[in-house]
């Protein structure tokens, strides 16, 4: 039911990709956690590793994962399209996923989403023209008592206020200058 709007392979650059040594070491460590013959169990964690390194989950990267796990590419695609954390299209350097489900809504997530849209001059689902930020909404991030909440690169930002959102955006801007 999810991520239906994945870029079709024909629209993507299909040039095969290679993973660097550091990524491969991490991937092999994860694969080794599972018994012989059950390596496919490492798939979701490997997709997280891929996305952490490339920013999103592209078809060539998924093909490479299939090759590593010795499974068919479709077995990777069907998983990547099911789990909403995997971005199947290019995204900004920092993806804000703002929770909007009941408990966060009760404490003002609607206002926070509108504020971020306004501040970054983008709508939900869009990326800023400088490629810095993508805004998405999320369904329940499991931090209901600390809402409103957004997650960016696995980090939770909680008890959001407009001032706090300003600080977070500024902090990521500064961080990107250092990279």
């Amino acid at each position: 039911m999810h991520n239906m709007k994945a870029t079709s392979p024909s629209q993507q650059d299909l040039t095969p990709v290679e993973f660097n040594a550091e990524m491969m070491a991490e991937i092999n460590r994860v694969i080794a956690m599972f018994p012989e013959g059950k390596q496919k169990s490492a798939l979701i964690r490997i997709l997280h590793i891929v996305q952490t390194n490339f920013g999103w989950t592209s078809v060539p990267a998924m093909n490479k994962v299939a090759e590593i796990l010795n499974i068919q590419p479709i077995e990777v695609y069907e998983v990547a399209t099911f789990y909403t954390m995997f971005h199947l299209n290019p995204v900004g350097n920092y993806v804000f996923e703002v929770c909007r489900t009941g408990p966060c809504m009760l404490v003002g997530s609607d206002d926070i989403i509108a504020y971020i849209e306004n501040k970054l001059n983008i709508k939900v689902g869009e990326t800023t023209t400088d490629g810095m930020f993508t805004l998405k909404t999320a369904e329940c991030l499991g931090a209901c008592g600390y809402g409103p909440v957004l997650q960016c690169q696995y980090k939770f930002h909680e008890h959001l206020t407009k001032e706090k959102v300003d600080e977070i955006i500024e902090a990521y801007r500064q961080a990107s200058l250092l990279n």
Binding site: M33, T101, M105, E139, C140, G142, Y146
Partner: protein
């Protein structure tokens, strides 16, 4: 905090997330006791005696679930901890794992011993990647100190423990979907039977338990099942972690003794300290988004006028007509200005988003309910839409492989049951419904309590 703390007692000790501090404060005693002095069956027996019921939401007796585990010769068995915590309103497991990760690991070792599992897993939702790292660090410490690996504490018992992340799918909290996901597949629930106890992970007999259930095994083994069962009322024994959210003065995670009154929990100084901003309570969902919402007058009292207690039985008193469920302990409180239609819409949207799409009634029904509720919330609905929602509900309920369909249907049905006039208001006041989001001011809000 009032009452006995069996899980979170040591949570505020500095450094408790490290092996050394945890061990110095009595940690891993249950492993020592179980592995050195008890047989696996004796551990199972203590858990049965404790009356512990699954803390993930279903409330099925944990000891009984364990006793169903098939034990064919030569076939490995597995214990899988469900740390997918994704029921809106629930965030207790995250708190426990983040603050005191060794408690879960200790519970996993003791429980794995009881079940005869030598390879166990913690499946954690992908959003909690930072907790996965906390757990892996703690697991590495446990290996280094001989609590995991070969021949634990010289007992001859071997155990490997692996943490595996999901990727953002609510459905993977359903145990068979979780197992599919752990096998590296889409999280489509399996038909039962066969139950995981017979055919689970990779076709092997498997027990899937919630984080809190597994952590509770530690005090149960340490103090004995009977001691644990002394806390609480009726078939609600021991302590329970409650995740309190919404419009409360002090939301957060609380460990309560089963049987505390709902009034005490919402208004008491030891707990949530009442409704935020001096407002009054309009409604409460006591057990996570899937359980029926209660209007204020049915939150602290049952329909019969008795005090409502934080137990499985008391929260369910009155059935679906005037009761709800303890569920996962996701306690969501609404102040008087909140719009029930809007909240119901966000939940319907949530379930439509999270339906795996496998069963038609759920795939189509959740999307349909979302659309109808969107119409109502934004002032384009009709009176027929309200009955249409009830109709769709009946077509989903009981007609799907897993309980997600029921979980999606029940909150909508309950919201209409108790707040029909608010839905009707959205139909009769279409313009206002778009500007004044909170709809009707409910006349039945509860007066502020001074405790």
């Amino acid at each position: 905090m009032a009452g006995r703390q069996l899980l979170l007692e040591n949570v505020h000790i500095p450094g408790i997330e490290t092996f050394d501090v945890y061990r110095k404060n009595g940690g891993y005693a249950s492993v020592e006791k179980a592995l050195k002095k008890m047989t696996p069956d004796e551990v199972v027996e203590e858990v049965k005696k404790s009356g512990l019921r699954g803390r993930g939401g279903a409330g099925f007796p944990t000891g009984m679930k364990w006793s169903f585990l098939a034990k064919p010769d030569g076939v490995p068995r597995h214990l899988v901890c469900n740390a997918d915590e994704s029921e809106p309103g629930t965030f207790k497991d995250r708190y426990l794992m983040e603050k005191i990760p060794h408690l879960l690991i200790e519970g996993m070792i003791t429980s794995s011993y009881a079940l005869g599992a030598n390879l166990s897993f913690i499946y954690i939702r992908g959003e909690f990647m930072y907790i996965l790292h906390i757990l892996e660090k703690a697991i590495a410490e446990a290996y280094a100190n001989g609590m995991l690996g070969k021949n634990i504490m010289g007992s001859g018992f071997d155990l490997d423990l692996v943490v595996a992340p999901g990727g953002g799918a609510y459905i993977c909290g359903e145990e068979t979907a979780l197992l599919e996901s752990l096998e590296g597949k889409r999280g489509n629930p399996r038909m039962k039977p066969p139950f995981p106890a017979v055919k689970g992970l990779w076709g092997c007999p498997t027990v899937v338990n919630n984080v809190e259930s597994i952590a509770a095994v530690v005090p149960i083994v340490n103090d004995g099942g009977e001691e644990y069962a002394k806390i609480g009322i009726e078939r609600s024994t021991g302590t329970k972690l409650i995740s309190a959210s919404g419009n409360l003065v002090r939301p957060g995670v609380y460990e309560i003794e089963m049987g505390v009154s709902v009034e005490e929990f919402i208004y008491g100084d030891d707990y949530c300290r009442g409704i935020a901003n001096g407002k009054r309570m309009k409604a409460c969902i006591p057990g996570g988004s899937s359980v029926p919402i209660l209007p204020a007058h049915l939150v602290t009292k049952t329909a019969a006028g008795e005090n409502r207690l934080m137990t499985y039985e008391s929260l369910a008193d009155g059935g679906f007509a005037s009761g709800s469920m303890l569920g996962s302990g996701g306690f969501i409180v609404f102040d008087e200005d909140q719009c029930i239609v809007r909240n119901t819409y966000t939940f319907a949207r949530f379930y439509a988003h999270e339906s795996c799409g496998q069963c038609s009634p759920c795939r189509e029904g959740t999307g349909w309910m979302e659309k109808v509720l969107h119409r109502l919330e934004y002032g384009h609905g009709t009176m027929e839409d309200i009955s249409l929602l009830e109709e769709i509900n009946k077509k989903i309920e009981g007609n799907t492989i897993c309980p997600l369909g029921d979980a999606a249907a029940w909150p909508v049905a309950a919201a209409i049951r108790h707040f029909r006039e608010e839905f009707e208001w959205h139909v009769t006041h279409p313009a206002e419904a778009q500007t004044r989001n909170y709809g009707l001011i409910q006349p039945r809000v509860e007066e502020i309590k001074a405790l």
